[in-house]
């Protein structure tokens, strides 16, 4: 039997993550594409870290950070009484960090493709930087946003290591598809594992097909 709860948790997690990443990632990508700061390369490297780190490493440090004594956990305790570890919120925080490059990099690339010359032209015509961003950069980066949204969403759906470390596999709260598949395989329920796996396989292929056909140049690069 296919259970609906893990699918819903997965979709909810991916939606929250993508949404938050757009809010954080857009200004970050804008800054990266415009700055001449020496910090740029360092920040770019930090953003790209999840691409090369084993998810378990990230998950391990997140677990420490999210714990009540950890950095994020301590800050969180001022906002809410509920603990972060093994919660859906904790999972969202982990996913945001883990999927960050998949949103920031396509956005940065598309902002860079719009380029400074057009921005400067807009300035000379009386447009403020915000006006320029809204009316010139954003419309010209529409594809970049589409790529960022699909990749950010799909990558969160396909996440395993980090959620395993910080999620705690609690049904209907933090139990996502990839973990359900793992559980089924462990108890040799291959049929159920197949249902979910085929579904994810097809979903991922379709997403990648759409993104690649939109624009290769905006793909994630390490």
């Amino acid at each position: 039997m296919i259970e609906l709860a893990p699918i819903l948790v997965t979709l909810k997690l991916a939606s929250f993550t993508t949404f938050i990443l757009l809010i954080i990632g857009t200004p970050l990508a804008w800054w990266l594409s415009n700055t001449g700061s020496k910090l740029k390369v360092a920040i770019e490297s930090v953003v790209a870290l999840p691409l090369v780190l084993p998810p378990t490493v990230l998950g391990f440090y997140l677990l420490l950070a999210l714990s009540p004594d950890g950095f994020i956990g301590t800050v969180w305790s001022y906002i809410s009484d509920t603990p972060l570890s093994f919660s859906f919120t904790g999972l969202v925080i982990g996913s945001v960090i883990y999927s960050m490059p998949f949103v920031v990099q396509p956005l940065q690339a598309s902002f860079e493709m719009v380029g400074k010359p057009l921005q400067k032209a807009a300035y000379t015509l009386g447009a403020t930087p915000y006006d320029t961003f809204k009316n010139i950069v954003l419309p010209l980066s529409a594809r970049g946003f589409l790529v960022a949204i699909t990749l950010g969403f799909a990558h969160t759906v396909g996440e395993f290591g980090v959620v395993l470390m910080v999620g705690g596999n609690i049904p209907e709260v933090t139990q996502v598809l990839s973990i359900v598949i793992y559980d089924h395989v462990e108890v040799l329920e291959y049929a159920q594992a197949h249902y979910y796996s085929i579904g994810l396989l097809v979903f991922s292929f379709v997403v990648l097909y759409i993104t690649y056909s939109l624009n290769r140049k905006l793909m994630v690069r390490i």
């Binding site: 001449g36 057009l118 032209a121 807009a122 300035y123 000379t124 015509l125 009386g126 447009a127």
Partner: protein, 355 residues
Amino acid sequence: MIQIKYKKQLNNFILNVDFSVPEKGISVLFGPSGSGKSSVLNLISGLDENEGDLIESKLILNNRVIDDSDNSICIKPWLRNMAYVFQDHRLFPHINTKENILFGYKRSNSDLSPEDLIEKFKIKDLLDHFPSQLSGGQKQRVAIVRALLSQPELLMLDEPLSALDYQSRQELLPYIECIHKELNIPVIYVSHDIKEVLRLADYIVVMDKGVVIDQGDISDLCITQPLLTQEEGASFILQGIISKIIKEDKLVEVDCGEKILITAENMQLKQKIRILIHAREVSLCLSKPEDSSILNCIPVLIDELQADRNGTLRVMAKMGGQIVVLLISHRSADQLKVKKGKRMYAQFKATAIIK
């Protein structure tokens, strides 16, 4: 006058300019490639990056202080009310011509009529086109209209013709000439093309290696400024009033003290014009030839002889209150006994650049 003063460390030299240009007409920043002309435009427009390398700045336009390093004034580019036409058109690719030309208009207090400029620049048929559907010349024309419609206090053009082929340049030049005739705004035009400069400039600022080496009215500089005369030789400017229009021959008679004939169309009687004539196209004779195909032969009084390059003599002659310049060989000068105070005839064809 627009007061412009900048000192800035560039990659391989220090840009150090301090000059003024008139508040009307086309002022050309002229000089070889890499002399810092475009850097000056970037500084004036406020688009310059690497502000850290700026040592000194002062820009005053219409009594408004725009840059002043002494008082830490540096107005943001979008508040300067200056328009800029770039070498590359920089039209916004996602909106059509109409939206492009209205971009600056909507963000200004412009009281210009878009319809009027659309008409004058003949872009009515292009309004629905996107930039990718326009030719190079059309893009630049749209870019000029877009800049003008924001009703800037200063218009800057950075070699707007350099990316175009010969045909498109010839087509676009009259439009650039009509900018300051239609709208009474000062224009700063950057160019390293002498033909363009002679045709367009009212005032010239000559730059080399980051400094201003000469500046003045075109009528003064086109005679002797070495950088201006190196390619086409010296030229001179005559001012006059159109006294007769000979439509069938596409000629106009211009009264410059003496009456001369010039090839021109679309002119009006009594119109004041300035014409630029290349000195090499003028010859000198002792008497008025009766059997020449050359239309203009005017009496002149030899005023001064100067050595020019390549062993030629530059002869300055007076015609009424105006100066005619011509280039002759030493040999001809000897044969005709050209000397100061001698009355002679200057002969030249009807071709001239009308300014």
